[in-house]
Every structure is written in structure tokens, then in C-alpha cells.
Amino acid sequence: MGPIISVRNIEKHYDNLNVLKKISFDIEEGEFVSILGPSGCGKTTLLKILGGLIQPSRGTLVIKGGSVKIARERREFGFVFQKPVLLPWRTVLENTRLPLEILGRSDAPEMPANLLKLVGLERFGNFYPNELSGGMQQRVAIARALSFEPSILLMDEPFGALDEVTRDRLNLELLRIWKKEKSTISSILFITHSVPESVFMSDKVIVLSDRPGSVQQIVDIDLPRPRTTKMKYSKKYLELVQCLRKTLKED
């Protein structure tokens, strides 16, 4: 079977502003891929193109053998944004249920509650978003993204606004959820500007150069899974972090 996402020569420009230049890469089934780059290099734009929210100016994009439009209609994508974007007038449980409501699906009424349990918020279903901490809000956003069982998770610096401790914890949790037995998530595309985070999470890191963003290097991360906090002290991990830091600086 071919790659789950195949990107070929994607370009994007707004008027005279070149945002993305000749982006090509593949994401395989079951892969965790990070896109690493300085801010303003077009990472978010790339993610939105992959999710079908923005049209590329040029290039082709094949998702599971079909077009982005078909993939979107099949609900293949779950989005997690930088901000949790929870609706403040809905409880945590109601926020988690939002995608199912929009899709008009009533076949899985217990799903939102189960997902809250999965992200460790089962006791907070009736709370309102403004009663939760930033980390908890982002957990709700993850539960919401999982609610309609997409196969690809697109995450745009989901933990970028959190403190380091919370961020590390949520990183581990995301990996646990992804590798869970019944998980429907096959591949994850994860945008970050943190080198250590990208190494710790991924099978593959795509380094983008400064604007216009282009693929500078694709680094395979051959650390064993499951990843553990201990690995952050391993030689291999530190080497990879250093290597990626160098690549970013060369830019």
C-alpha cells in the first residue's frame, strides 16, 4: 500500500508573497511526522492545505489514494489547533460532542464521555471551559478531534502555549492515545517549533526553511517505541536534537 499522504511540489503564494516553495514528502500509514521550522515559515499554511482548508497555488496532494476533498468528506481529518478553541457556552462534554452534532451522527452517544475518560477528564464533563486550566482545555480539544474517529490527526503546535511540565505530560499522553489498542488514528502530522519535542514524538521530522518555506531536510528518528522520558537522556536522542538544531541554524 502506498503512503497515506503524498505531497508533491506544493506551492502557495498570496499575491507577491511566497509562502511555500516546492514542498514534497510522504507520510506512511502509522507514522508520526513532525514539521519543524521557525515561526512564519508557513507551517500552519501547509497543515491547512493538507486538511483541505486552503487551496495550494500549485502541486498535487493525494490522501489515501484520493483527493483532499474526498478525504475531508470521509472525515479522515481531526484538527487540533494552537488554541483549544472550545466554545465557552458549552460544557466540556458538549464541546467534545460538537463534531458528532455537526456530522449529524447519533450512533455513538457514549463516545464523548469515553473520550473524556481517555484524556483523564471524566470528572469534568459538566464543567465549562473557563473553569479548566490551559492543559486541560487542550485535552478537551484532543478528545473533540478524536470524537468522530478520524484516521489522520493534524496538529498545529497543540502544546505550544503550555508550560514545559504540562507539555511533556501531554506529549506522553498523546503517544499513549495514538498507540492505544482501539485507536482509529493511523498517522499524526504534528507541527512544532520545538526541536526536542519533534524528536521525542516523531518517526520522521521534516525541517522547513525560512520563508518561503521549503523542505530543508527530512530526518528519520529511529528511537524505539514506546518512547519514555528516560530516552531524553540517551546519546541517540541528544545527537538527533543537536543535528536538527544545526540544520535549523544553517538556514
Binding site: R72, F79, E101, I102, L103
Partner: protein
């Protein structure tokens, strides 16, 4: 509630109330001592006495004014809401109509009131129209702002789920605009009382504006004061009512 909090709240009430009574007492004493003519500035005790004696009649007139204000307010805000929705969704319509909305808004209501009486008669119709006219604009302006203030990422979230326009409106844009709408409704609640009274000034046989105007003709300053007090109370009651509803509906907004 903590002890400190109660103390703070008490202070918040106690200081203005004591100041109020202090002013009343000074006012009463000064007027009594210098024998200032009552038709210019009556003593508070005299005003209070008049208020008690005439309370039934005052209540009737205040009720009329409030009725006019509320009906005008309701009509205006339903219309304004619809217009705000149209404006927020069609740039062409907004560009075409916006100058007229501004022109209508900047025309003083007092200048238009005689025309309204001519069109809608001296009964409550013209007052309702005046109340509606003034309470119309805050809702349009704020409503459009609120409907457009949707977070880009929230919109992306809905789009990623291929949500319909109707779903985006009912589940995102409308609830998101509610705080904006309510802040406009509070403004237009007080404005609508002003509109109704202005309408009554031009030609009426009932309402608090009528009471104030007639007492001016007869130099009944005491009665005039009672009218002013009732007008203020009417405005406050309406504002408070809307604020209470706001607290219930827009519960997620921290004041």
C-alpha cells in the same frame, strides 16, 4: 462569600447611600434657611410628600412610558437583529445601506419627533416609533461587530467538519455574538425610555413626559421633580431588567 468580601460589598452600598442622604439633608436645610422660592428649587421633603400623595397617578404615567419604551425596544431590536445578520453576511448590502443607517442615527430624535406625531398620531404609536428609532442603532452596530468577531481557528474547526452555513451560524456565530448583543440591549433599553419621553414632549395626554411638560406650563416645579424622579426610575428598572436577563443567558462572560 468571605468576611472581607461582605465588608467590601457593604462599603460599596454604604458610602453612596450615606452621601445621598447627606446631600438631601444639606439641600433641605439650605433651602429652609435662605427661603429660596419653591418654584425654582423645592425642598426634598416637599418633593417626597408630593410623590407619596400622587403616587398612583405617577405610577400610571410611568407605566405608559415604560410600555411605549418596551414595545419600541422590542420592535426595534428584532428588526436590528435581522439587519445585523444581513449586514454581517452581505458586504454589498452593507455598503449600500450603511450610509443611510448612519444618517438616520445622527439625525437627532428631537428633530424627527414632530414628524412621527404627524404620522402616527398623538396616542402611544408615535412614542413607540420614537423609542424604536433611538434604540435601533446600538444593536445593528454591535450585532454586526459580534457576528464578525468569530475566532479564525474556531471557523477552521467548523470548516474542517464541513459544517453548513446554518450550523456555523447557530452553533458558532450567534452564541458568539450574544455578549455584543446584550451590551447593545442595555444601551438601547435606556435610550428607548428617552425616545418615548421625547415623543411625549411633542404631543401627548399621558406618560411621564406629559406630566413633566404640563407641570412646566403651570410652574408646578414640585410635580416636575416627581416626574423626573419617576423617569429616572423607569430607565433604571428597564436597564436592570435587561442586565438580569443578560446574566442568565450570557453566563460564560465574566463581568
Amino acid at each position: 462569600m468571605s468576611k472581607k468580601n461582605i465588608k467590601g460589598r457593604l462599603k460599596q452600598v454604604l458610602i453612596p447611600t450615606s452621601l445621598f442622604f447627606l446631600i438631601i439633608i444639606v439641600w433641605e436645610l439650605v433651602i429652609s434657611i435662605i427661603h429660596y422660592p419653591e418654584y425654582l428649587l423645592p425642598r426634598p421633603s416637599v418633593i417626597f410628600n408630593e410623590l407619596v400623595i400622587n403616587f398612583d397617578s405617577l405610577l400610571y404615567h410611568t407605566g405608559i412610558t415604560l410600555l411605549e419604551a418596551v414595545i419600541g425596544f422590542v420592535i426595534a431590536n428584532i428588526l436590528a437583529f435581522i439587519i445585523a445578520v444581513v449586514f454581517a453576511h452581505s458586504k454589498t448590502i452593507k455598503t449600500g445601506l450603511h450610509p443611510f443607517v448612519i444618517a438616520l442615527q445622527t439625525t437627532p430624535i428631537i428633530a424627527m419627533a414632530p414628524l412621527l406625531v404627524l404620522w402616527f398620531g398623538t396616542d402611544i404609536g408615535s412614542k413607540i416609533a420614537a423609542a424604536a428609532l433611538v434604540s435601533f442603532f446600538p444593536t445593528i452596530v454591535n450585532g454586526v461587530k459580534g457576528l464578525k468577531s468569530v475566532d479564525d481557528e474556531a471557523l477552521d474547526l467548523f470548516k474542517s467538519l464541513s459544517a453548513t452555513k446554518w450550523q456555523i451560524f447557530t452553533k458558532l456565530k450567534f452564541p458568539n455574538a450574544l455578549p455584543y448583543f446584550f451590551s447593545a440591549l442595555k444601551t438601547s433599553a435606556t435610550l428607548s425610555v428617552i425616545g418615548a419621553i421625547v415623543g411625549e414632549f411633542v404631543g401627548a395626554n399621558k406618560g411621564i413626559g406629559y406630566v413633566i411638560l404640563v407641570s412646566t406650563y403651570h410652574l408646578q416645579t414640585v410635580k416636575m421633580f416627581t416626574g423626573i424622579i419617576m423617569a429616572a426610575v423607569a430607565g433604571m428598572i428597564f436597564f436592570w431588567l435587561v442586565a438580569m436577563i443578560e446574566k442568565k443567558i450570557v453566563f460564560w462572560q465574566k463581568s
